[in-house]
């Protein structure tokens, strides 16, 4: 086992453990904080793939902004374990079955996909994730989708303000 493998397994274990803790934590605040830990582990994976820009943006946007807003909402609503509505057994069973089906479909897809089988993840060698190459690609080959995405964001922001202003 070389260093990359050790780091990979450590980060994967951390991500899966934190994701499970998100689900089984009784307190919503704890769930949000475990989710932040998941994002950290995934950022670590990005760094292993030499995609430093993606890693840091994942941390700034998700851990630094979106999860803080989640915390805001949860703290202000003051959700507690006691006020959580109790779901009945059938609902839980239905959830387990549908979730299990989704997992099965995803796993079989990954196992059969020829695209994924032929290729291997480029750890610490690929340089497409560096900000220089990413920027050049975004502003040459993918400039139209990139600009359309920014227009979409702008309209979403204006929409949020309009909805928020309504009495």
């Amino acid at each position: 086992m070389n260093t990359t493998e050790i780091l990979f397994f450590f980060l994967s274990a951390l991500a899966i453990f934190s994701a499970i803790m998100v689900l089984i934590s009784k307190n919503p605040i704890h769930s949000v904080l475990w989710l932040v830990a998941v994002f950290f582990a995934i950022s670590g994976h990005y760094i292993l793939l030499n995609a430093q820009f993606l890693a840091i943006v994942n941390m700034i946007v998700y851990a630094g902004a979106i999860m803080v807003l989640f915390l805001f909402v949860v703290m202000l609503m003051n959700l507690n374990a006691e006020t959580e509505p109790q779901k009945n057994l059938w609902m839980k069973l239905a959830g387990v079955i549908s979730g299990g089906c989704l997992l099965m479909v995803l796993v079989s897809l990954v196992r059969q996909a020829t695209d994924l089988n032929a290729k291997k993840a480029m750890t610490t060698t690929g340089d497409i994730g560096l900000i220089k190459n990413l920027g050049k690609l975004l502003f040459s080959e993918y400039v139209v989708p990139f600009e359309i995405t920014s227009v979409l964001f702008l309209s979403a922001m204006i929409g949020a303000i309009v909805i928020g202003k309504k009495e």
Binding site: I29, L33, I56, V57, M59, G64, F72, I131
Partner: protein, 348 residues
């Protein structure tokens, strides 16, 4: 030396560097608390702490000892794990910034060239941005875990303030990055050291002003210390904290101040560059050490300005704070960015 195929010498070198930088920052922070009390005393025309040791120089140790000796109280109805985690997170986030700051040029030691920077990543500024945005968690978790309404309100205030001012800070930084063309702090400092190139403050005066105001807000310094407004919130997000946990919160503010001073000095004031002097004339090691000294002097000047403002300007009201952030700083930063873009276009 091939265990795990790592360069163990490099790891030892970096660990030593990390230890030196972290302990040096903590030491400077210790004396910053002393300087703060002395500066406050001078500005208010009183002697300030003078009893412990000559000129009161042992005062910070006395303060620290006092905090450690105090009884540690964890409120019964708090969530204990998070209550303990809060101050630790605040301190960690404050110290993590030091990893990408270039503290000096490289030195030759035992036949190795050692960079006085822990990690020269090519996204250095974004890393700082990420760490700053994580600093919010220390305040929010501490405030919420205390299970006190005042603490919670203060935590929410602190978080919304930090998020609001991060935006203006980011846009001010984009204008700077447009002129430098690099995200690596080391490259930015080296560009400013090059002959015929002025410090970035000459190209981005408005950008620096915006960045400075936002840095003050991010450090929760007066006039932006709304999260600890005693007259409305009793004591703020650390109201339930006692002993060294409270000390960690107070101390992380000073570490934050040092780190943001170091970032500002590196981005806008040439970092370890000595003004009006060609470093290449000196032997390498001496030049590097003098450079570190120059950076430290710049940091001290910034810290003094922080304190000067704190003891001069009263605290904002909350609506004033939000209006300043969203209605003045962000439009100004956008205009600054447009002007910079036009200037770069005209230069081509």
């Amino acid at each position: 030396m091939t265990l795990l195929a790592l360069d163990w010498l490099l790891i030892i070198e970096k660990l030593v560097l990390i230890a030196i930088i972290v302990f040096a920052s903590l030491g400077i922070a210790l004396y910053t608390t002393f300087a703060e009390r002395k500066v406050a005393a001078v500005l208010q025309d009183r002697p300030g702490p003078e009893r412990a040791g000559p000129f009161g120089l042992f005062q910070p140790f006395a303060d620290g000892l006092k905090l450690i000796m105090k009884e540690e109280i964890i409120p019964n109805s708090s969530s204990k794990a998070l209550f303990v985690l809060g101050p630790g997170l605040a301190m960690t986030a404050a110290l993590m910034t030091c990893a990408v700051i270039p503290w000096g040029a490289s030195v030759q030691l035992f036949g190795r060239t050692i960079d006085l920077q822990i990690a020269d990543v090519n996204i250095g500024i974004l890393y700082i941005f990420g760490v700053v945005s994580l600093g919010v968690y220390g305040i929010m978790i501490g405030g919420w875990a205390s299970n006190n309404k005042f603490s919670l309100m203060a935590a929410l205030r602190g978080a919304s303030q930090a998020i609001s001012y991060e935006l203006a800070m980011g846009i001010a930084l984009i204008a700077l990055l447009m002129t430098t063309g690099s995200l690596s702090l080391k490259t930015i400092v080296e560009q400013q050291m090059a002959p015929g190139h002025l410090w970035n403050i000459a190209y981005q005066p408005l950008g620096f002003l915006l960045f400075f105001i936002c840095a003050m807000a991010e450090c929760n310094r007066t006039p932006f210390d709304l999260p600890e407004a005693e007259n409305e919130l009793n004591f703020g997000y650390h109201q339930e904290y006692s002993s060294m946990k409270l000390g960690f919160y107070l101390f992380s503010e000073y570490v934050n101040m040092i780190m943001s001073s170091a970032v500002m000095a590196s981005l806008y004031f040439g970092g370890y560059d000595i003004p009006f002097f060609n470093e290449a004339l000196l032997p390498q090691n001496i030049a590097a050490l003098v450079g570190v000294g120059a950076l430290l002097i710049k940091i001290v000047i910034f810290i003094f300005i922080f304190m000067w403002i704190r003891w001069t300007i009263p605290r904002f009201r909350y609506d004033q704070l939000m209006n300043l952030g969203w209605k003045s700083l962000i439009p100004l930063a956008l205009v600054n960015m447009l002007i910079t873009g036009a200037w770069i276009l005209a230069k081509l």
